[in-house]
Amino acid sequence: MDPNCWILPLITFVPLVGALIVMFIPKSNYSAIKATSIGISLIPLALSVWVWFAYDRSGPQFPHGIQFGVDAPWIPSLGVSFAMGADGLSVPLIFLTALLTTLSLVYSLVINERPKEYFWMFLLLETGMMGVFVSLDFVLFFVFWEVSLVPMYFLIGIWGGPKREYAAIKFFLYTMVGSMAMLLAILAMYFNGGRTFNMIELAKAGLFVGPEYATVGALVFWGLFLGFAIKVPMFPFHTWLPDAHVEAPTAGSVILAGVLLKMGTYGFMRVLMPMLPEQFERYWWIIAVLSVVAIIYGAFVAMAQWDFKKLIAYSSVNHMGYVTLGCAVAGSGAMASQSSKILALNGAQMQVFSHGLLTGALFLLVGVIYERAHTRMLTDFGGLGARIPVYAGMLSFCSLGSLGLPGMTGFIAELSVLTGTYNASPLLTGLALIGVVVTAAFMLWTIQRVLLGPLNPRWEKMPDADTREVSSVAPLMALTLLFGVMPMLILTIFNGASQAIVGLMH
C-alpha cells in the first residue's frame, strides 16, 4: 500500500468532521461558525496543494496503477471495498474543489440567514465532491455522488432566490434520473465484470467487447452516458442548469459550475472512456455532434439573455461543450491520430480546470453586483466602469478569459480541443469556430452593458469591490493567468492521464 495512502481519506473526511464540529457551535455565534468553517476548509486546501506537488507526473496512471492509493475491504460479501486513489485526472480536480470551497466560504461571510446550517452543509458538500474525485470503487463513488446532491439541494432550496423550490426540485430530480440510469449500468458492469465494484479492475477487465455484447454494451453505455451527460450538462439535458444557477446563492452557483458539473465530465474520462472503449468508439460522433451543438447553441442562447446570471449559466453550456467534444474526439478510434486525441483530451481537461476558475469567478462577480444593486438585469446597469474600476477590471479580465483570450487558460483549452477535433472532423471544428465568435460577441456585449457607456445615475454611490470580494476572486484570476502563460505547469499532469486513457482506446 502506498505510504501516502492516508492523504486522500483525510482530504475527503476532514470537511465532514468539520461539519460535525460546526453543528456543535451555538447557532447564534455567527463569527465562530464562519471562522471554524473557513479554517477547516483550509486543511483540505493545504493538503490538496501538497498532493499537487507530491504527485508524480510520470508515475502510474489509472488503470495501470494509481497514486496515493488505499484499498481496504468494506463490504467483502458484495465485493465492495474502500478504494481511493488519484492520478492526473483527479489531482487538479481535488485542488480545484478545495480552492473553490474555501473561496466560496470566504465569499459567504455575508450570509446571515441560518449561517450554521449553511456552513455545515457546505462542508458536507465538499466531502461529497472530494469523494467522487478520489473514489475507485463504484459503490463508494455512487455514495459520494449522491451525497454531494443533498447539500446542494438545500443550499438552493433554503438560501436561493424567489423560485428556489422549483429550481431545487428540478435540480434534484433531474440528477436523480441520471443517477438511476447510472446505477443500473454500474450493476450491469458488476455482474459482467467478475462481481467487483473496483474501478481499476473493471477498466482492466475489458467489458462488453465483441458483437455478442452489442446490445447490453450499448445499454450500459447509454445508461452511464445519461448519468454523466445530465450532470455536465450536455445539450439537450441542460435546462436544469439555468434555473439552478439563477436561484442558487452565489457560492452555490460557484460550486455548481466549478465542481459539480465537472463530476459529469470526470465520469466521461474516468468511467465511460476507459471502461467502455468499444462502445465509445462506436458512438463518439453522437457525443461530438451534441457537443458542437452545445457550443453553438449555448452561445446563441446566452446572447439572448438579459439576466446576468442566466447568461453565465448558458455560457457554461457553451464551455462544457468543449470538454465533451475533446472527450468525444479522444475516443474516436481510428478517426484521429494518437497525438490529436491526446491533444483533444488535454484540452478537455484544461477546459474543465479553466471553466472552474473563470466561471467560478464570474459567478462571484455577478454576486458582488447583485448584492449592491439587488438586480441582475443587464438593462439596469451601464457605465459602472468609471464608478467601480476594481470590479470593472476583474469582470473584464474574467469575461475576456471566458471568451478564450490568449494568455489565459481558456485559450489553451479551446486551441487544443479544436486542433484535436480538426484531425477527426474539420467540419465540426469549423462549426465550433462559429461558437468562438458568438462567445466573444455576447461576452463583449455583456461587458458593454454592465461597465461601459454613460453611468446609470441609480448607481452613483455604488461602492467598489471590497477586500472580501477581491480576495475571493483574485486567486482564481492569478491561476488563470499563470496556467495560461505557462501551461506546462499543469499540462504535464493532464498529459499523463490523457496518454493512459487514449492508450486504452486503441
Partner: protein, 683 residues
C-alpha cells in the same frame, strides 16, 4: 544583445504591471514609467539592429537567431516556443519601438488632465509588449497569442473614453470584426500544425522546412498550401482592415488620437501585412498560386475602394483612417504580386508618415477642439509646426519622388506590379491619384483659406507634442533612402529571410524584372500623384472647378461614397440582425420546446401518472381492503344477534341443529342416488 532580445517586450510588460498597480503614485502619473520602458526597448532594438546589420551578427548567425523553450506537452512530444531575430523582425522592432516611444511622449501633452491618465499609459505598455512579442515570435501560436493581445489593447484603447456610447460600440466592433478574421487565422494554424507537425516556423522540424507536406490537393481542388495561406490571410484581412472586414477601422477613430497613430495606423494594423510577409514561404509554396492571387486582388480592391471613400469624409481622422485602409491595401496588394520587399518597405515608410499625419491631426484637434474639417481652415499661420510636418507627411503619402520616403516605397510596389500584374498596376495608379486628391483636399480645407468657424481659437500645441512630429517628419523624408532602386539595402537584407529555397522561388517569379530605376513606372506614379494634387488645387484651393455644379449629375455617387457604400448598414441588416434573430430563436426553442414542453412535460406526465395511480390505489386497492373489512364487520354484527346469552335459545339451536344433521344423514343414506342428477349438473 541579440541573445537578450526577449527583454525588449518584457520591459513594457513590467511597466504595465507597475503602472496598473501604482497608477498615480508612479513617477509622472505612470507616464514616465511607461516611457522609460519603451525607450529602453527602443535602445535595445537599436542595439540589436546595429549588431545585426552592421556588426556582422547576421552573417555569424546565418541570417537567423532563434531560441526556444518547452511550452506545452502533447503526449510524448513537446511544443516549443521562443523568439527569433532576423532582418524582418529587426525592421519591425525598429518601427514599433520608434513610433511607440514617440507616440507615448506625445501623449504626455495630448492626454494631459485625463481622469484615467495612468491607465492610458498602462494600456500603451501592454500594447507595446504584445506587439513586440508578435514581431519576434518564432512560433505561430505565440504569434496568435500576441496578435490577440494587441487586439485586446486596441479594444481597450478604442473604448478608452467608454462613457461615450459611440466609443464603446466602436471598441466592441473592432474586437468582433477582427475576431471573425482571427478564426480563419486559427484554423490556418491548426491546419499547418496537423500537416507539418510543428508550430515553430524555423529549424529542420519547423513549418517552413516541411511545407511540402502541405502540398497535397485538398478541398475544391486547391493544394492545402493555398488553403492554409488563405486561412492565414483571413487574419490579415481582419487586422489590416481589408475589404470586407475593413468596417472597424474608421470607427476605431473614437479612441484617443495618439492611439490611432500608433495602433490604427503605424503598427497593429500593419500586423496583417507582417503576418503575410512572415508566412510568405507558405504562399510561395502554393503551387496553384491561388492564395497570392486572392491576396493581390483583395488588397488592390481595398486600396482603391477605401481611397474613394476618403474623398467624401469630413472628419479629419476618418479621412486618415480610410487612407490607412487604402495604404494597407497597397501593402497587401504588393505582397500579392510578389512584391514581398516592396510591401514591407511600404509598411516601414508608411508607419512614419501616417503616424505623423495622425499625430498632426491630433495636434489640430488639440488646438481647435474640433475634428470636422468644415469648421477648420486657415490653421497654417496659427499652427506652423503642425502645418509643415503635416505637409511633409502628406507629400510622402502622395509619393512625391526622390524627396520623400513614401515616394520610394510606392514606386517599388508599382514597379513590381508592372512586371507581374498589369491590372493591379492600373488599380495602384488610380489609387495613387485618388490618394493625392483626398489628401490635398484635407490639407487645403484644414490649413488654407480663412477660418470657417470663428469661435475656434486655434493655438499651437506644446513642445512635448511638437518634438515627436518633427522627428516623424524627418523620418517621413529620410526613412526611404534605405530602399532606393540604386542601392536597395532593404531588399538585400530582407530577401534572405525567406531562406535559400524560397528566395530562389521568389527570384524565379520575378525573373526578367527590371531592377533599378524604371522610367515608365516613375512617370505613371509621379504623374498620377501630381494630377491628384492639381485636381484638388483647382477644386478646393483656387476653385476653378465648382464642385456644386457637378452635384446634380453625380449626386447619387457622392451620397454613395459619403455613406461608405452603405457597407455598415448592409452588415447591420444582415449579419447583426441575423445573429440576434438566431439568438432569440435559440432561446425561445430552449425555453418552450426543451424546457417547457419536454422537461416540464415529462415532469407533468410523471405527476399525472402518479395521480392516476393514487386514484387507483384509493379506489380499488384500498377499496378492496375496505370491502373485506366491511364484510367482516357486517357479518359480525349480523351474527351478534345469535349471541343472546339466554340458555333456552342455545339449547333450542343445539337441538334444531341435531335434528337437521340427523335428517340429512338419514336422507343421504336412503336416497343416495337421488343426488346424482344434481351432482352431475355440476360435474
Amino acid at each position: 544583445m541579440i541573445e537578450h532580445a526577449w527583454l525588449i517586450p518584457l520591459l513594457p510588460v513590467i511597466a504595465f504591471g507597475l503602472v496598473l498597480l501604482f497608477g498615480r503614485k508612479a513617477p509622472g502619473n505612470g507616464a514616465y514609467v511607461a516611457i522609460a520602458a519603451i525607450c529602453a526597448s527602443l535602445a535595445m532594438s537599436l542595439a540589436v539592429a546595429f549588431q545585426w546589420f552592421l556588426g556582422g551578427a547576421s552573417a555569424a548567425h546565418n541570417g537567423l537567431y532563434s531560441v526556444t523553450i518547452q511550452w506545452m506537452p502533447v503526449g510524448s512530444q513537446m511544443i516549443d516556443m521562443g523568439f527569433s531575430i532576423d532582418a524582418l523582425s529587426v525592421v519591425m522592432l525598429l518601427v514599433v519601438t520608434i513610433v511607440a516611444s514617440l507616440v507615448q511622449i506625445y501623449s504626455i501633452g495630448y492626454m494631459h488632465g485625463d481622469p484615467r491618465y495612468p491607465r492610458y499609459f498602462a494600456y500603451h505598455s501592454l500594447f507595446a509588449a504584445a506587439m513586440l512579442t508578435l514581431v519576434i515570435a518564432n512560433n505561430v501560436v505565440l504569434m496568435f497569442m500576441s496578435w490577440e493581445l494587441v487586439g485586446l489593447t486596441s479594444y481597450l484603447l478604442i473604448g478608452f473614453w467608454f462613457e461615450r456610447p459611440s466609443a464603446m460600440r466602436a471598441a466592441k466592433k473592432a474586437f468582433l470584426v477582427t475576431r471573425v478574421g482571427d478564426v480563419g487565422f486559427l484554423a490556418g494554424i491548426i491546419l499547418i500544425y496537423l500537416k507539418t507537425g510543428s508550430l515553430n516556423l524555423f529549424g529542420d522540424a519547423g513549418v517552413f522546412e516541411n511545407l511540402t507536406r502541405l502540398d497535397v490537393i485538398g478541398p475544391w481542388g486547391l493544394p492545402l498550401t493555398a488553403i492554409a495561406g488563405l486561412l492565414l490571410f483571413c487574419g490579415a484581412v481582419g487586422k489590416s482592415a481589408q475589404f470586407p472586414l475593413h468596417v472597424w477601422l474608421p470607427d476605431a477613430m473614437e479612441g484617443p488620437t495618439p492611439v490611432s497613430a500608433l495602433i490604427h495606423a503605424a503598427t497593429m494594423v500593419a500586423a496583417g501585412v507582417y503576418l503575410v510577409a512572415r508566412m510568405y514561404p507558405v504562399y510561395l509554396a502554393d503551387s496553384s498560386g491561388m492564395a497570392l492571387q486572392v491576396v493581390a486582388y483583395v488588397g488592390a480592391f481595398t486600396a482603391l475602394f477605401a481611397a474613394t471613400i476618403g474623398i467624401a469624409q469630413n472628419d479629419i481622422k476618418r479621412v486618415l483612417a480610410y487612407s490607412t485602409v487604402s495604404q494597407l491595401g497597397y501593402m497587401i496588394m504588393s505582397l500579392g504580386v510578389f512584391g514581398y520587399v516592396a510591401g514591407m518597405f511600404h509598411l516601414f515608410t508608411h508607419a512614419f508618415f501616417k503616424a505623423n499625419l495622425f499625430l498632426g491631426s491630433g495636434s489640430v484637434i488639440h488646438g481647435t477642439g474640433t475634428q470636422d474639417i468644415r469648421e477648420m481652415g486657415g490653421l497654417k499661420k496659427k499652427m506652423p509646426w503642425t502645418y509643415w510636418t503635416f505637409l511633409i507627411s502628406t507629400l510622402s503619402l502622395c509619393g512625391i519622388p526622390f524627396v520623400t520616403a513614401g515616394g520610394w516605397s510606392k514606386e517599388e510596389i508599382l514597379a513590381v506590379a508592372w512586371h507581374t500584374n498589369r491590372v493591379v498596376f492600373v488599380v495602384g495608379v488610380l489609387g495613387a491619384f485618388t490618394t493625392a486628391f483626398y489628401m490635398f483636399r484635407l490639407v487645403y480645407k484644414t490649413f488654407y483659406g480663412e477660418p470657417r468657424k470663428h469661435d475656434i481659437h486655434a493655438h499651437e500645441s506644446p513642445r512635448v507634442m511638437l518634438v515627436p512630429l518633427v522627428i516623424l517628419a524627418f523620418l517621413a523624408i529620410f526613412a526611404g533612402y534605405v530602399g532606393t532602386p540604386w542601392a536597395n539595402v532593404f531588399e538585400r537584407n530582407l530577401v534572405p529571410v525567406l531562406g535559400h529555397h524560397y528566395e530562389q522561388v521568389l527570384e524565379n517569379k520575378l525573373a526578367g524584372m527590371h531592377h533599378g530605376f524604371n522610367l515608365t513606372v516613375f512617370l505613371f506614379a509621379t504623374g498620377s500623384a501630381l494630377l491628384g494634387i492639381f485636381m484638388a488645387t483647382i477644386i478646393w484651393l483656387k476653385p476653378v472647378l465648382r464642385i456644386e455644379k457637378l452635384e446634380p449629375s453625380f449626386g447619387w455617387l457622392a451620397k454613395l461614397v459619403e455613406n461608405k457604400y452603405y457597407i455598415d448598414e448592409i452588415y447591420q441588416a444582415t449579419i447583426i440582425r441575423g445573429l440576434m434573430a438566431a439568438a432569440w430563436l435559440a432561446f425561445a426553442f430552449d425555453k418552450w420546446v426543451i424546457d417547457y414542453a419536454i422537461v416540464n412535460g415529462v415532469g407533468y406526465l410523471t405527476r399525472l401518472a402518479s395521480d392516476l395511480w393514487g386514484w387507483f390505489d384509493r379506489t380499488f386497492v384500498d377499496g378492496l381492503v375496505n370491502i373485506i373489512g366491511w364484510i367482516t364487520k357486517t357479518t359480525g354484527s349480523a351474527l351478534r344477534y345469535l349471541q343472546t346469552g339466554v340458555a333456552q335459545h342455545y339449547i333450542f339451536l343445539l337441538v334444531s341443529a341435531l335434528v337437521v344433521i340427523s335428517l340429512a344423514v338419514i336422507a343421504g343414506h336412503i336416497r343416495e342416488e337421488a343426488w346424482i342428477p344434481i351432482a352431475g349438473f355440476y360435474r
